[in-house]
Structures are given as structure tokens and as C-alpha cells.
Symmetry: C2
Subunit: 599 residues, 2 copies
């Protein structure tokens, strides 16, 4: 059977007079003026099909009159010019008068309507019937955009001389990083594979192997408790290059980001991405992934606080903390005591701030502030001058350890941006954040850890300081790409010299032997002529989500899981037969343990 001569987005005035065969889903039907109209839908669009008793046999008309939505049909008919044209759709100037009709498949009562229900569907129902959800033009478009994005990435990488190398999914479990997903290995009983958290080791090995320019669109897995908008499995663009400095990687990937952006949005990015050091990003925006589409930058009051008479501020500074403020523009009216209380609560709950101070400036310049009494008039003027606040603004101040201040003010800044509509949602702003610190002090474990990973190279400018024993504020050759406040990707130039690597391990409290134990053969591989190299990884799901202005990665993942890790459609994960576990020499102890806990 020939199912179609044309798709349903294709017919135009030029086709008038032709006899065509069309197949698709009944989108809507209506009877009008003795005729039956069917909007027939396929992947490419809709075409109006008309059933007219003067054209088609009686049986066809009768069948057509009874067609239900989402029935799959095939029609043969003649293209005619429409009398009442619909110029909103590309096929709106024509209609097809059906002579033949075949019902290819029926459709039961649907759990939800496909057309005209864009925004009010329950997500769980959508996920359960994902195969119907993706019939909706918006979801189909998201799938198509994902495809186009992957194609654009691949073609760009290929043109730049990168080789796609697929690395294994059944790997060795390592104690580093997040929790591994394990896969019991039946033929080697008692042993396990681990699903990859990233192809990090493999891509560096490929550089040692002389591949020089590698990329892969890789599935990665992390068994972490799912916060909002995380998935156990995610898709990553993974890149590594040899004989490069960080500028080489950044230039290559900036070109990629622009190309992909144009593919998805149709818009050009005609500027070079600004490059902002990590320290500046933290200081100005309280974030290492600042949304630079709006201001409300952090203002530093530490110097004023150090010399002021307000003990609460002064003691924070003396203990090594900082005092910073943000200015909420024209918020004098909006920021009632209730709203201010909510912001303080937010700073306390999510960032561990001990409190929040504020200064409200009325339109006439009158100041209301619980901390006003601790400052002289001049000091208050100095504070307001430093924050650049105007009449009608509200100043919010946090004094605490730097980490708390940045976290709280950075978070409040974003909340203000959204709640006060300071963000132009039509705008996309790219940014590089670079030079992240090598080491961060882990308060819980009372030791230094690698901020990125222990293979990250130290900036040449800071190498002497590092070799001289300094650990704080040692900067690395790292770069994150930020789009509208989302980190969409990041990476680093790696250490390729085994001696420097040993020194970094040493600073992390690892002897060579312990490192060998931890990272295994990977440490050995560097002895055999490793070239200088670096790379990065991009999270495909989030990157696409931001470009499509979606609110959740689940909107751009074909078959996502819930935040309990469940596929509502297939009902994975599930219990398995005892025989399956027996073959793996495994026993699940959950019921047992639960009983023990209950007793």
C-alpha cells in the first residue's frame, strides 16, 4: 500500500488539481454545511480534508462522519483551493477533497486530548503516557530540537577535526566522586561493573593514546539523591584536546556554543563571550554562575564594617568574615516587613546566615533600618554611597563568613531578579567564568580537597606559590560556560606531568601509592608520554532546556524519570525474580533489614 505521496505540511497552491494520498492522525473533525471537515495531522503539520457527498461514495462519507480524534487514516483525494483560507498555517490555502478513505487504526478513549491542552496537563499523566504526550506538537518540537542540537554539535566537532570515540558503559567502580550505579557481573560471580559517572579517565587515556581531539555524546550516571531537576542518567558532551592551552579549548567551544545556539534559536551571537575570573564572579554576583542579564550586584561593606561601631558587623570582620549588600531597586513599597522577613528566613534556611540587616530609603530619603541606631549619620551616608542605593530602594546586608554571604546574597539576588521582573526573558547572555581555586577546605573532614578534580592544572602564575607551600587561593586553568545563570559546561587543562601530579596528590594528603590505589592504572598511563591536554563537558539536557526556555530538563528528555527515579510508563525499576538474583549470587536484604529495624 502507498500510504502517502505528500506529508501534511507540504501542500500549497501549486499542488491544486493534483490527486494526492495522505496518511495521519485525525486531529479534529467538524460537520458544516453538509460537508465533513477533518484536520489530518502528521509530524510535519496539518492539512484540511473535506468529505463531500458529491465527491466520495456514501460509505466513505458515513465513515468520515464517525471518525474520532487520533484515529489513523489514509485518504486519496484532489487538492482544491480553499474558499476561506487560513493563513496561520502553511497549508491553509488548500484543502483535499477525499475520494477514498481507509481507517488504518482506531483509537480508544484517550487519557488526555492531544490538541489544545498545551499547558494544563498533569505531568505524571503525561509521563505515564509519554507516547501520547510526544504527539503534542510542542513536545515533538522539543524532540526535534534535541536531534538538531546533537547534529549541530557533531557536525561542528567533526569539522574541527574531533573524533567521536565511544567509551564503555560497563566500567570499574571507583570510590571517588558520587555514588556509582553497580551492575552485578554474572560470569565473574561476586564482582560488579559500575556505570560511568563521566568518561573522564577514558578521555584522558585517549589523549595519551594520541587521539588529540576527542568528543563523545555520552550517557552518564550518578546515584545521588534526586534534587529537583536531576536525573540518574544524563547526557553529556564530552571533549578533550591535546597540545592546547585553555584559550584554545575556550575558543573552540565558544564557536560550538554559538553554532548550536543559532541552530536552536535562529539567533546569532555576535559578541565574544566575556571572561570573568571566579573571584570576580563571587564578589560581584555571589555566584560562580552569575546571571548577568540584570544588575543588583553585591556591594562590599567590609571596610566600613571593620571600622564601624556596630559590634555585630565588626566582630564578623575581625573573625575573617565579610559584609556585603545588595540594593533592591524601587522596592520601598514592596518590601514590607513581611517580605523582608521572608528574605531573612530564606537566607537563614538555605545558606545558614545568622541574620539579615536592611535599610529602607523612602522616596524623600528618609531611612528606616533596625541597625540605623548603631551608625552615625555619616557612616550611614557612607554605606548608602557605597551601595549606590537611591531613594525608594531597599538595601539588604549580610555579615558572615564569605561562603555564607555569597550564598545568601547570590540567592537573594536571583530571587529579586525574578520577583521584581528585572530579567529580560527574551535575552540570552553567555559568559565564561575562569580560574577556579585548586583546593577548598572541607570543614567537616578538616582537610583540603580538590575543588574540581585532582588532575586539574595550576595556573603558571600561581605555580611558584603552590610549590612554595601555599594552598589557599591557588588558581587553576579552569573554565565554566554560563548561560543566563546556568552552568552549561565546564572543564580544565589537566596536569600531564607526573611530578606535578605527585605534588598535588601530596597536598591532598595522598602518597603516590595511595593515589595509585585510588586511581589505578590511570596514574601509570601518564608515564608513557602524556601530551599536554585539557577538555570539558557540557550537560546536554540543561543546555537545551535553557535555550528552549523550558523550566525542567524533563521537557527536553524523551523518556525522563520522576524525581523518585521511576519511569511511570514502563514502571521501572521493579522487583525481579529470585532466579535472576540467584544467577548473580545476590540476595536482597531489604525485607530482612526492615524487619530488624521494626523489631
Amino acid at each position: 500500500m502507498i500510504y502517502r505521496t505528500h506529508n501534511l505540511g507540504e501542500l500549497r497552491k501549486e499542488n491544486i488539481g493534483q490527486t494526492v494520498t495522505l496518511s495521519g492522525w485525525v486531529d479534529t473533525t467538524r460537520d458544516f454545511g453538509g460537508l465533513t471537515f477533518v484536520d489530518l495531522r502528521d509530524r510535519e503539520g496539518k492539512t484540511q480534508v473535506v468529505f463531500d457527498v458529491d465527491v466520495a461514495p456514501k460509505e466513505v462519507i458515513e465513515t468520515a462522519q464517525k471518525l474520532k480524534n487520533e484515529t489513523v487514516i489514509r485518504v486519496v483525494g484532489k487538492v482544491k483551493e480553499r474558499s476561506s483560507k487560513n493563513l496561520n498555517i502553511p497549508t491553509g490555502e488548500i484543502e483535499v477533497f477525499a475520494a477514498e478513505l481507509t481507517v488504518l487504526n482506531n483509537c480508544d478513549v484517550l487519557p488526555f486530548q492531544i490538541t489544545g491542552t498545551e499547558d494544563n496537563l498533569n505531568e505524571n499523566i503525561r509521563l505515564k503516557y509519554r507516547y501520547l504526550d510526544i504527539r503534542r506538537p510542542k513536545m515533538l518540537n522539543n524532540l526535534r530540537m534535541r536531534h538538531k542540537m546533537i547534529m549541530a554539535i557533531r557536525n561542528y566537532m567533526d569539522e574541527q577535526g574531533f573524533i567521536d570515540v565511544d567509551t564503555p558503559l560497563l566500567n570499574k567502580s571507583t570510590p571517588e566522586g558520587a555514588r556509582d550505579f553497580l551492575v552485578p557481573c554474572r560470569i565473574n560471580p561476586g564482582t560488579f561493573y559500575a556505570l560511568p559517572q563521566s568518561p573522564q579517565l577514558f578521555k584522558q587515556l585517549l589523549m595519551i593514546g594520541g587521539v588529540e581531539k576527542y568528543f563523545q555524546i555520552a550517557k552518564c550516571f550518578r546515584d545521588e539523591d534526586l534534587r529537583a531537576d536531576r536525573q540518574f542518567e544524563f547526557t553529556q558532551l564530552d571533549v578533550e584536546m591535546s597540545f592546547v592551552e585553555m584559550e584554545d579549548v575556550m575558543n573552540t567551544i565558544e564557536g560550538l556554543a554559538k553554532s548550536v545556539f543559532t541552530t536552536i534559536t535562529g539567533e546569532k551571537v555576535d559578541y565574544k563571550f566575556p571572561i570573568m575570573p571566579y573571584a570576580e564572579a563571587m564578589s560581584r554576583f555571589g555566584s560562580d554562575k552569575p546571571d548577568v542579564r540584570f544588575g543588583v550586584e553585591l556591594k562590599d561593606l567590609t571596610d566600613i564594617a571593620r571600622n564601624c561601631g556596630f559590634k555585630a558587623f565588626k566582630s564578623v570582620v575581625e573573625a575573617g568574615g565579610i559584609v556585603k549588600a545588595i540594593v533592591v531597586p524601587n522596592a520601598f513599597e514592596k518590601f514590607s516587613r513581611k517580605v523582608l522577613g521572608e528574605y531573612e528566613e530564606y537566607a537563614k534556611r538555605y545558606f545558614g546566615a545568622k541574620g539579615m540587616a536592611y535599610i529602607k530609603i523612602a522616596e524623600d530619603g528618609t531611612i528606616t533600618s533596625p541597625i540605623a541606631k548603631f551608625f552615625s549619620e555619616d557612616e550611614m551616608k557612607e554605606i548608602i554611597a557605597k551601595t549606590e542605593a537611591n531613594n525608594g530602594d531597599v538595601v539588604l546586608i549580610i555579615a558572615d563568613k564569605a561562603k555564607v554571604v555569597y550564598g545568601a546574597l547570590g540567592g537573594m539576588r536571583l530571587r529579586i531578579g525574578k520577583e521584581l521582573n528585572l530579567i529580560n526573558n527574551d535575552e540570552f547572555k553567555f559568559l565564561w567564568v575562569v580560574d577556579f581555586p585548586m583546593f577548598t577546605y572541607d570543614e567537616d573532614e578538616q582537610r583540603y580537597k580538590a575543588e574540581h578534580h585532582p588532575f586539574t592544572s595550576i595556573k603558571a602564575e600561581d605555580m611558584d606559590a603552590f610549590l612554595g607551600g601555599q594552598t589557599e587561593n591557588i588558581r587553576t586553568n579552569t573554565y565554566d560556560m554560563v548561560l543566563n545563570g546556568f552552568e552549561i559546561g565546564g572543564g580544565s587543562i589537566r596536569i600531564f606531568n607526573p611530578e606535578i601530579q605527585t605534588k598535588v596528590f601530596d597536598r591532598l594528603g595522598l602518597s603516590y601509592e595511595e593515589a595509585r590505589e585510588k586511581f589505578g592504572f590511570f596514574v601509570d598511563a601518564f608515564k608513557y608520554g602524556a601530551p599536554p591536554h585539557g577538555g570539558l563537558a557540557f550537560g546536554i539536557d540543561r543546555w537545551l532546556m535553557v535555550m528552549l526556555k523550558e523550566n525542567s530538563i524533563r521537557e527536553v528528555i524523551p523518556f525522563p524519570k520522576t524525581n523518585k527515579g521511576q519511569c511511570l510508563m514502563s514502571e521501572a525499576p521493579n522487583f525481579v525474580d529470585k532466579e535472576q538474583l540467584d544467577e548473580l549470587y545476590l540476595k536482597t536484604t531489604y525485607e530482612e533489614d526492615k524487619k530488624t529495624e521494626e523489631n
Copy 2:
């Protein structure tokens, strides 16, 4: 640091006089006539670098003289014309006189030499040091070919309007098909995900979802005991289309196969692939994936056997068996009693044949055959006429159930092709094998099973017979692509009508409820307007292996595992910490069970 201005396959006579910066691995070094020559190698090729005391400082010369193979260096120097040109390599007309030399990284004593050791390396050593193995130009080329193949596939599919949709790797375990790899799910204790054996259900759901043309290059997993040249994880091109008949799928994919073939081999395929029904392939070649690069076809002696006086043949035919022969050309001398014995043994051991008869025809026409005495001279003439054997040939005959005859003669035919050098190894012959049977009788379970899978559609020509109750010889809309005797891909048009599907389940002894139990939500999905659809899957690894004329898929997989499922490089799989298992509420019982078994 600028590491390179040119790669090492790039410089030509046109570059003479330029100052260039090069980086790469020391491939070989030699001192000659007071000069030190270094062949410097990178991904793109080799360039000869000369260290001359008249050009470079003394320290550079001294360092150069001590360079070991696989050291990573950077040189700056001037391109000069070579006096003795090497026209075997593209850069052979020039050499670079180094003025600067930086040793970027040293290289320890290697487990094997990178250059000049193409064919005599131990595979286990190669796999353990895969990162060195892929520095070898041949392996690097295989990786590059894999990349080019994937790019060619994707670009072709994209041009044809297919959308790449990535389906999940954490799925539900189903009792159908091969054994699943399980992944314990920590946050839903006691439950498991399964890694996909193929995206079969998802791709059909995508058709129900209106994607119409889907493809994916998917990782698939089967926990089967590893025979030679299988891997637990493999890469599959997965395709599905809606509103198509089998010719549509075959034409699309034939175009793909030709395009990919040209990408990899540089050769064009200028013929339409022959289409051979399954029944013909079995009857002529004893195989559903015949290597048609040579003859030695099966000849049917069943009719002769039915009426002959040789009881052994006659009784086989009367019991429903068949008698077939192959002719080994010019084998009168070669096929001694010993060789014939080996062939008979092969037919018995691997295919369960009860015996093999033979007829040797000397150059003068004299016949030697243990079965000659059972036939009249005329009968023997008839047999020889039917087999088209000539003087000097040897006829091998098997009488048995069809399955045994096809297996044994098909296998012997391939062995003969190889051992007698009847195959032109420079030739590639594509073929479609179509119309596989719907049901096969499982002797062990005494019931019919689906040959392909229960969603395969029945040929329109055989539908009446099926509906009328016939089960044997019901043909399906199936197609396998065969290249040089390897099945590189295959698929089918699916059943999309729930009523026909129910009838097929019924014939397989499954009620709708049982099918619902087995295939879950998938059966329900067809109620909501499933379009007619079909597709296929190609094994990337084997397909590439055949085109590159490699003997093992491990040569075309970047990081393969051994046939014990082990990665010799990373030492996966491994034992994991008890804490990891505790978190999953799992206990491994291997040691326990072993003890029990020992006692």
C-alpha cells in the same frame, strides 16, 4: 605556549622557508653524518626533524641526541627541502631544522614498541595498554573509521528526515529474550533497573507517538555467555519508520549501506542489492546469511532419494527429511579419506548430522563412494547430473531433518570456501534475505515460538492461511541485510493492529491477559492509534569489522572486553566495598554458595 603551527602530516614544498612550531611523539631517532634525525609523529602523520649543530644551540643538540622513543617534544624550526626525498609519505619532500626543543613529557620503558610491530603483538598486552595500542597508526585509523562511519550514518539519516531520539538505559527488566543486566536501585530498595537489550519497545512507542522516522545509535547489553567475538555491550543503529511497507524501509537502508560503504572503503556499490527469500537462501546455501562471493551451492537429491533403493536415504525422506549435496570443485586429490573424515566429524559435532556420504569423481570419471553399491549406474549418473559435479570433483551428501542438512552443508560450504580459497577477499557482496517464517517449532518446549519476535507482521499473501489456522510456513515482512556472509542488520514491518496482534499471541499460546502481563503497557499503547510501522537494527561493530576486513570486533571497538567480560586495562569488573552493597540492601552469596557446594 603555542604548541604547534602545523600538524605533522601537513608540511609540503610550499612551506619551505617558513619557521614552524611542531609538537608530537618521537617515533624514531637516528644519528647520521653528524646530524640527529627525529621522526616526529602526531595523529596526522610524521615529519622529519633535523638537529644540526650549525642551527641549534649545543644544549638542544645534546638533548636531541638523548631523546627516547615516545617522548613528547615541541620544536621550533625552519622548513627546508630534503636532499634525499621520501616519496612514500606526504611530508617526505621536506624536513624541519630545529632551533628550539622543549621536552614536554618523558616516556618510561614501553611494554611494546609503537612503530613497526603491527602484526605480532599479544592481544592481552594490547588490551591492558589500550592507550598505547591506539597510538599505533592502524588502530588510530580504525577509531577514525568508526567515527567516520557514525558521522556518515547520522548525516544520511538526518538528510532522510529521521530524528535521533535517545532512549533510557535504566529500564524495566522483562523476562523475554536474553538475560538482562540488572542495576540495583538504591532509592527504591529491593528493586532493579535493567540495561536495554535493544530499544525495541521504545522505538515502537515513538512511532505511536508520531515521530514517524526515528533513529538512534544505541548501546545495548546482553548478559549471555560470551562466544567468540561477542561483547556484553554493543553498539546498534536502531531505526523505525511509520506509514511504510518493507520496500520503503529496504530502499532507505540500502541507500544508507551504500553511503557508509563508500565512506569506509572509498568504493562505490553500483548495483541494487539482490533480494533472496529466506526459503531460497536456505535451500541454495544452507544459511539465512549466505556468503554469495562463491558458489558451491546446495543441490537437492530428495526426489532421487525418495525413489532410490538406498534405505538410509529413503527412510529419511519418508520421515519428512531431505537429502542435499554440495560439490567441492577439483578436490579429488585434496579430499583424502582423512579430510573427508574431518568434514564428517564437523557435520556430526556441530550440527548433529548422523553421517555424511560422499562421491569422489576421478579425472577419468571413475567413481569412488561407499554408497555406490546401493545405487544403480543410472541412479548414480542421475545424482551426479543433479549435483552438476564434474570429473575431479567431490560430492558431499547429507540426509537428515532439514535443519540438520542446512546447518551441516551450510557450514561445510563456508569451510570449503575458505580452505580451498574460493573466496575473493577483495570483493564485497551485499544481499537482502527476506520473508523469514513467523513461527518455529521449539522441540524442547514442544510449542511454537516467534522466530523474530511476536510483533512481526505476517505477509499479506499468507494472512488467509494464518487466519485459517496454518502455523508452519507463514512468512513475515522481514528483511536481513547480509554482507559477505555476515548478517549486518535486519528488521521487520510490525503488527500495528491490536486484533491481529491478539491472534498472534493466541497462536503462541498467550491470552491477551498473559501478553499484557509479559509486555505490559506496550500492548495497551497500540490501542491509541498506532500507525503502520516497521524498522530494523544494524550491529555497528560487526558491520564495520566486515568493511575493514578485520577478524574480530575487538579491532573496531575502542575499549573492548575479553571474552570473559573483563577490561584488562581498568580491571573491571571488580569486588566492591561491603558499604556499597549495604546501601543497596544487597548481599553477595557467592562465597557462601561455594562453601555449600564444597561441603
